[in-house]
């Protein structure tokens, strides 16, 4: 199955051993998008590498920027302006919504809900992309969060537009519940398919919505709060069974929570200048730092080894989808081929960050 298969969302090849329609064994082959980002990083300055992080998880570029920049800031010991922290939270959460919308839309498409949910999700995502376009001038790869702050301050009047979007999005999420969540066919296709027990998920280092769907209440925004998340009020939605439907449902609930976070952050936005005050070339002290943030797909970690020069000596990217894909063979054994499509969609993998 693959590497060119519509449900793999990228180039992923699965070697299946079948007994009729039943799957006996599954071996994923990855690496089709391998660009050796980690080697590239060794030949770039810390600032130059930010646009490369956009291309890891390209549907959630803001969150990648954030994870990388915060790791570098930890290395360099940079303090940032309070307003920049709030802006980062706003853009990261908006991008999380956009990413979850894509996950839900393509998941429904994979299950045979042809085009309609996907187009609805893209319609909503378009509004977020428009907001980002106004904030930073880009629609997919933002390169907005910089070492020491953000690239630009928010444009005038954008807060009203974001508030209008929150109101609009709330009603649309309710629509999705009517359209998809409790739809009989949708339930029949995804309920009890690909059950991942919590213990096994932790043992595989699965993270993000996939872990929470298995009933493990773990979210770095709560458990190791960074930026201003400890000042904001939100819940961590968890699933009960860890099946495909739970993974979908957790994402729907996370959209609601992210809207809540953005709403509070907009209200609490302090005055000031959030743009970067430090130079472009940073020489870190010889040290090693590891920093992880909660991405839409799970825990994105950067392990940076610095030798005191302007270039990272070694940069390891711990991408969430990599570990989330490793668990796939455990989930599909004994199921039918069509169920793989369902499980792949519900795991919400992104090959760009698996292959790096």
């Amino acid at each position: 199955m693959g590497p060119q298969h519509p449900s793999t969302h990228g180039a992923l090849s699965l070697e299946l051993k079948l007994d009729g329609e039943m799957i006996r064994d599954c071996t994923p082959h990855i690496g089709y998008l391998h660009r050796s980002m980690e080697k590239i990083a060794e030949n770039r300055t810390y600032t130059q590498f930010i646009p490369f992080t956009d291309r890891l998880d390209y549907v959630a570029s803001m969150n990648n920027n954030l994870g990388y920049v915060m790791a570098v800031e930890k290395l360099l010991n940079v303090e940032i302006h309070e307003r920049a922290k709030y802006i980062r939270v706003i853009v990261a959460e908006l991008n999380r919504i956009a990413s979850h919308l894509l996950a839900i839309g393509t998941f429904a498409q994979d299950l045979g809900a042809f085009a309609t949910p996907l187009f609805y999700c893209f319609r909503e995502r378009e509004k977020i992309v428009d907001i980002f376009d106004r904030i930073c001038g880009n629609r997919l790869t933002y390169n907005y969060i910089r070492i020491g702050g953000v690239q630009f301050d928010l444009p005038k009047g954008i807060d009203e537009d974001i508030k209008a979007f929150i109101k609009y999005m709330r009603s649309k999420v309710d629509d999705y519940d009517w359209l998809l969540t409790y739809n009989t066919i949708f339930l029949a296709r995804s309920k009890h398919i690909g059950v991942l027990p919590g213990e096994l998920a932790i043992n595989y280092s699965v993270s993000g919505p996939n872990l929470r769907a298995s009933g493990v209440k773990w979210d770095l925004r709560k458990d190791e709060p960074y930026l201003v998340y400890e000042k904001l009020e939100f819940d961590i939605p968890v699933g009960e069974n860890g099946d495909s439907w739970d993974r979908y449902k957790v994402r729907i609930e996370e959209i609601r929570q992210s809207l809540k976070i953005v709403e509070q952050a907009i209200e609490a936005l302090p005055e000031g200048d959030p743009t970067v005050k430090v130079g472009r070339i940073h020489k870190g002290p010889p040290a090693e730092v590891y920093f992880r943030t909660e991405n839409p797909r799970g825990e994105l970690g950067f392990y940076i080894v610095s030798d005191g020069s302007a270039y990272p000596y070694r940069l390891k990217i711990r991408s969430p989808s990599f570990s989330n894909l490793a668990v796939l063979p455990e989930l599909v054994k004994g199921l039918k081929v069509a169920d793989i499509v369902c499980i792949l969609g519900s795991l919400d993998l992104l090959m760009g960050e698996i292959d790096r």
Binding site: S36, I202, S205, I281, R314
Partner: protein, 153 residues
């Protein structure tokens, strides 16, 4: 389970395995490669209860290779970094795939990019590079004429 500060975790390991030491610069726990499996078993099942092997990576320091294991406890909210120093002519270490299943792919990645051999690994093949690839791209000695060189500052 309560949160354990890093020095308490270190003292806990030190009491059972006196051969370990703390790396000055990073605070990572440096262990000899022979005791990896015993220490890993202790860390997972007794004491700190590290249930999540989060990340494995290697660093090519020229005179030696360093393996860094990042472990977390989901119940206790604490973490530790284990380090193993390997001589370039003896790149072999025990696999942890029997303890944490996440180690399977993480170790394959280290093997693929650095050429470090993990004994008793269930399926040690290349993972990101093509299966017939010859060299180990993340070693500092690896070079390719198509690489873009460092920018001049």
């Amino acid at each position: 389970m309560k949160v354990m500060p890093p020095n308490e975790i270190f003292e806990g390991i030190k009491a059972k395995f006196p051969e370990i030491r703390q790396e000055g610069l990073t605070g990572a726990v440096v262990i000899p490669k022979e005791s990896l499996l015993n220490i890993a078993r202790y860390l997972k099942d007794d004491g700190p209860g590290f249930d999540n092997l989060h990340c494995i990576t290697a660093i090519d320091k020229g005179e030696r290779f360093e393996l860094a294991y990042t472990l977390y406890s989901m119940r206790g909210h604490h973490g530790v970094t284990l380090k193993i120093y390997l001589a370039p002519d003896d790149l072999n270490v025990a696999s942890l795939a029997a303890l944490w299943k996440s180690a399977n792919w993480l170790e394959r990645e280290v093997y693929d990019l650095f050429g470090i051999d993990f004994s008793n690994h269930p399926d040690l093949r290349r993972i990101l590079n093509p299966y017939d690839w010859k060299e180990y791209p993340l070693r500092k000695s690896y070079s390719n004429p198509r690489f873009i060189t460092k920018p001049r500052l």
